[in-house]
């Protein structure tokens, strides 16, 4: 399945909905989208990964890159993920300590850090 990317504003947050497969082949599109959003001044980003079916290390690298980008503008990047198979990837790589990860979009939007 191809990668799908949709974004919208939710108050002061920008929600990027990612769906499908984020792998070594498709991740560059996610990278471009994050670069574009930050370039347009979106520094409070919530990446909704509820519809992600596959995520690999390139995808993780892109998310880490996105986090570095928003942090350089004092921004934040949090994730919405409730799928065990995806959460396992964050746990194994120790990235659960790097990203705020929420069960639902509502929870992510309520988190004011």
């Amino acid at each position: 399945m191809e990668l799908s990317l949709n974004h919208r504003k939710e108050g002061d947050r920008t929600v990027l909905e990612v769906g499908g497969e984020v792998d070594v082949y498709t991740a560059p599109k996610l990278r471009e989208k994050l670069v574009e959003l930050v370039g347009e001044g979106n520094y409070q980003i919530v990446v909704d990964m509820t519809k992600v079916e596959f995520l690999d290390s390139t995808g993780l690298g892109v998310l880490v890159g996105g986090l570095k980008r928003v942090r350089s503008h004092d921004g934040s990047l949090s994730l919405v993920c409730n799928q065990e198979r995806i959460l396992k990837i964050f746990r194994i790589t120790g990235l659960t300590k790097v990203f705020p990860i929420h069960d639902s979009l509502d929870e992510a939007l309520q988190d004011t850090e």
Binding site: E21, D23, V24, Y25, F54, D56, S57, T58, L60, G61, V64, G65, R85, K88, I89, I92, T93
Partner: protein
């Protein structure tokens, strides 16, 4: 299931195909559903590293996968590249990717997902991964069903 060999052109566009083919074979071999997810990740990482190595070193030869259940109770996959392996060589000047970070995470994922993994050199790099087929996983398909 006898060993099956798959040769893929060194292009990351084929990583998804490798994932699909190996996943179908593992399912037929009786690997349980939750382990299929682990296998998908590990195979993708190993194949992606091999492909990136070929691309970086200008190797046009295919990346080779061999998988099967010759080792009773296990679904085994080996990924062989002909490049100089994925020991992080210095990234090319101007490279916009964090190769070291990504291949580091990739190896961490392979180790975390497979039941056993072995890295060796045979010209290029060989990654051998094994996944245990649980006792209740029915692996009764005759070779002809493949």
């Amino acid at each position: 299931m006898d060993d099956v060999e798959l040769r893929l052109p060194p292009d990351v566009a084929y990583v998804g195909l490798a994932r699909l083919v190996v996943t179908v074979a593992a399912r037929q071999a009786g690997l349980p559903g939750e382990r299929i997810e682990d296998l998908k990740i590990a195979v993708s990482e190993a194949v992606a590293n091999a492909m990136k190595s070929h691309v970086r070193h200008g190797v046009v030869a295919p990346v080779r996968l061999v998988f099967g259940t010759k080792d009773p109770g296990f679904f085994a996959v080996s990924v062989t590249d002909a490049g100089s392996g994925f020991d992080p060589s210095p990234p090319a000047v101007g490279a916009d990717r964090d190769w070291a970070l990504e291949s580091g995470l990739g190896v961490t994922l392979i180790r975390g997902m497979a039941d056993a993994v072995e890295f060796s050199r045979d010209g290029g790099m060989v990654v051998r991964m094994r996944f245990s087929i649980a006792a209740n996983g029915i692996s009764a398909l005759p070779p002809s069903a493949m």
